[in-house]
């Protein structure tokens, strides 16, 4: 399931510099963010600022509230306390500028692959230009030749690539990723990480990537926050050159530092 030549070309088309970042990506500011389900608080007074075009990874143990944070930032849930501002104006509906890649691909089984990508176009779906954009997005994830297939015949990794194309075609200013690679095998994961990183560099949206895999966070993010018991326990920048090499000593040192913090918190 190697990426096609087009996808690789797209991935390497733009090197380090990403001039679109500042225009496309939206800033996200959360102040005193709290969320409780019933009597059980999940997030407690969390403050977080994400700059435009930044790639933020959110790590933490399962049940720490990281997925809830993502769902709040993406506008899928409303906060119990505090507020979130996405973009320049506070009154912008987050859901119009943020897209979510879920843990599951969540493709419509009764729509062909291309039609599933076109879900991301919204009202532009019916136009010719829209169709061309959907095909282009599908090509950018290396699946142009699967446009007419039903989702059920695709393997898991390809389904997630379709979901990525669906998110990209809507030209999001924020892409929220909720452990989208958790169910994939190791090789497919690395391919998907490269695709996501390439799309982020090319299009310059702000990324919020929730994961339980610290190495994945270090490989992709500009900055990593660690959530513990509903608040931010650690907030570290990742000053590593891209493309990053997992074998590099700085890579390993950072990964270990975050892992130690995670494990230490477990014992406490």
């Amino acid at each position: 399931m190697a990426l096609s030549a087009t996808a690789m070309a797209a991935a390497t088309a733009r090197p380090e510099a990403a001039p679109a970042h500042a225009e496309r990506g939206a800033t996200i500011t959360a102040r005193g963010l709290g969320k409780a389900f019933g009597a059980k608080p999940v997030l407690r007074g969390l403050d977080l600022s994400i700059s435009a075009g930044e790639f933020l990874a959110v790590v933490g143990r399962s049940g720490c509230g990281k997925s809830t944070l993502l769902r709040l930032l993406a506008g899928l849930e409303t906060p119990s306390h505090g507020r979130i501002a996405v973009g320049d104006r506070a009154e912008v509906d987050t859901r119009t500028i943020a897209r979510v890649m879920f843990q599951e691909p969540r493709l419509l089984p009764w729509a062909r692959v291309l039609a599933n990508v076109e879900v991301g176009l919204g009202a532009d779906r019916r136009s010719l230009a829209g169709r061309a954009r959907a095909l282009e997005a599908l090509a950018s994830v290396g699946l142009a030749d699967r446009a007419n297939d039903w989702p059920s015949v695709l393997p898991g990794g390809q389904k997630q690539r379709v979901a990525l194309a669906r998110a990209l075609v809507s030209r999001p200013r924020v892409l929220a990723l909720d452990e989208p690679l958790g169910a994939l095998d190791a090789l497919t994961r690395i391919e998907m990480q490269q695709l996501i990183e390439a799309a982020w560099r090319r299009e310059g949206f702000t990324s919020v990537f929730v994961t339980h895999d610290v190495a994945e966070a270090v490989a992709l993010a500009d900055r990593i926050v660690l959530i513990e018991q509903g608040t931010i326990a650690l907030d570290v920048p990742v000053d590593l050159q891209r493309p990053r090499h997992r074998g590099a000593p700085e890579f390993g040192a950072l990964e270990e530092r975050i892992l130690d913090r995670l494990l230490g918190a477990g014992e406490a």
Binding site: A74, G75, L76, R95, T96, R99, V100, F102, E104, R106, L108, P109, W110, A111, V119, G120, G122, W150, P151, S152, V153, R166, S170
Partner: protein, 281 residues
């Protein structure tokens, strides 16, 4: 069409591979289709032999050949086709009316809590009355007019369609709904592109159940209260001890049931081409 399915019971879901591919596969498929007919053909042969050799009384159970002869006789007189047509029209009218109302209630109650709280418990109570128990009352209301048959068939067909439609709407994957909403689909688009296609397999299950109930109701109604139709033809024949026509009528009901089942399968193939069971080769 390999298995013999009673027209009264809902047929088991079957996996139909689309007919395509190599000639070898086509031959294999033809053979496997034919294999289902071996048992019925054997039974017919034994039956015919028993009648011809005089082991089976012709008045109690006429031989296949005399049933065939009766069929030919009635076809030439035109009586058979007229009666089949009348029964068919009654069945369709009842299915459209009852199924249509069932679909409407099923969608409404699946989508709206308010609608459900207003009507569901009432409908569930009515559902527990066997609709054939209403025949004496229906004859008082409608006489043995067309209205009586339409009412009974529609009532019988309503519940399987209603229950399965509501269930289908309810069991649409909430994750897909959340995804579609997060992509800004409005209520109409959500219904058309997510809820309805998601509920469709279940609606088809309801339709299959409904077809079984439809024939059953029609047979009972036509033998008790009718002046035309296949059931009436059978009852008339009984009066004159024409058992060949009685057996013919029973076979026609079986064939009509089988035909209805084949139509639903064709519809499923047309409307649910995405289902993994249909994609398997």
């Amino acid at each position: 069409m390999t298995d013999a399915v009673s027209p009264y019971a809902p047929p088991a879901p079957t996996e139909v591979a689309p007919a395509r591919g190599s000639p070898g596969r086509a031959l294999k498929e033809t053979l496997s289709n034919l294999s289902g007919w071996i048992a019925p053909a054997l039974i017919l042969a034994v039956w015919q032999a028993g009648s011809s050799l005089g082991y089976v009384s012709e008045t109690l159970l006429p031989s296949p050949s005399s049933v065939l002869a009766a069929g030919w006789r009635l076809t030439r007189s035109g009586e058979l086709l007229v009666n089949i047509w009348i029964s068919f029209c009654r069945a369709m009218a009842g299915l459209i009316v009852g199924g249509g109302i069932g679909l409407a209630f099923g969608l409404a109650n699946g989508l709206s809590k308010l609608s459900e709280s207003l009507s569901d418990s009432t409908l569930q109570m009515v559902r527990n009355v066997p609709h054939l128990a209403l025949i004496p009352l229906v004859i008082v209301w409608f006489g043995i007019d067309e209205g009586a048959k339409l009412f009974l068939v529609a009532l019988g067909v309503f519940f399987p369609v209603y229950v399965n439609t509501m269930h289908g709407v309810r069991s649409v994957d909430p994750q897909l709904l959340e995804m579609a909403e997060s992509y800004g689909m409005g209520r109409a688009a959500l219904f058309r592109r997510v809820v309805l296609p998601g509920a469709l397999p279940s609606i088809f299950v309801g339709l299959r159940f409904a077809l079984g109930v439809m024939w059953l109701t029609l047979i009972v109604a036509e033998t008790i209260a009718a002046q035309s139709g296949v059931g009436y033809m059978a009852m008339q024949a009984r009066e004159f001890m024409m058992t060949d026509v009685v057996v013919l009528s029973i076979l026609i009901y079986a064939l009509l049931g089988k035909l209805a089942d084949a139509v639903v399968r064709a519809l499923e193939r047309a409307f649910l081409p995405w289902r993994p069971s249909l994609l398997k080769d």
